[in-house]
């Protein structure tokens, strides 16, 4: 899955969906670090602010935990949304 600039869905929504799917699929394991913001910025060819907005959405949903100076991590599975 990838970002589609022609898709009217906001890019940050698309990115959040991609990362969410990877977490569900186990590509990113609980308590393990996610790629850094700048890595995602490069991988998907979008601005850092867009990456940050996607990450904030995931954190608010309970999928991830963000720590200043260290990075974002997959949340422990207990705190995942129940409709997952």
């Amino acid at each position: 899955m990838t970002i589609d600039q022609l898709d009217p869905t906001p890019l940050w929504v698309q990115l959040a969906a991609i990362i969410r799917d990877r977490i569900k699929a186990g590509d990113y394991a609980p308590r393990q670090p996610l790629p850094s913001e700048s890595q995602m910025q490069q991988e998907f060819g979008i601005a850092r602010g867009t990456v940050r907005r996607a990450m904030r959405a995931l954190a608010e949903e309970g999928w991830t935990v963000t720590v200043q100076g260290r990075g974002s991590f997959v949340a422990p599975q207990e705190s995942w949304p129940k409709d997952a």
Copy 2:
């Protein structure tokens, strides 16, 4: 085909699809100029910025080439996307 203001798809996406189809159909031949931005603006009854965004998308896909001060042209067929 025409622009549908009630369709939630962004207008520039709709316009890009229309132009793309015309190129595929041969209505606009390779290396020939496309209608000017202001012509499209009138033909479809949309804002010039919308036209520009559609043209930019087509150029990024490889369908068109934009030359400052002269206009946009249908790209040589070799550079068209392969999934076309």
Copy 3:
């Protein structure tokens, strides 16, 4: 109350607090429109993105309702946070 650039509190938090207080005080009445984003931008001398972040926070708390193309409004009092 006003924005203090020397206060380490993020500007958007300061702005949200100001607007929240004005709503509580009745300066902005329920169902009435708030100043536009550009008006706040000028009144407080901050960037529009900062204004938007403050407005989003207030909307998430239930103080305001934002409608694209029309503006932000004070929410009906029933939906205000209970700890207010």
Copy 4:
């Protein structure tokens, strides 16, 4: 005044003294931003950590106020040290 690499006085002490003198002299006005850390780094040819240590000293003395994400500012004159 300038940094003297041969002076046994720590570089951050020297730098802090320079900035402190500029504030007293009015070269940097109250509530106005100081040069960024990277600017000082270049102007004086020293490491960024050295700049940060000097700035921290000035902030602790009450000469400056540092705000995350925004920069360092000259403190309001009321909060300056009295033995100045």
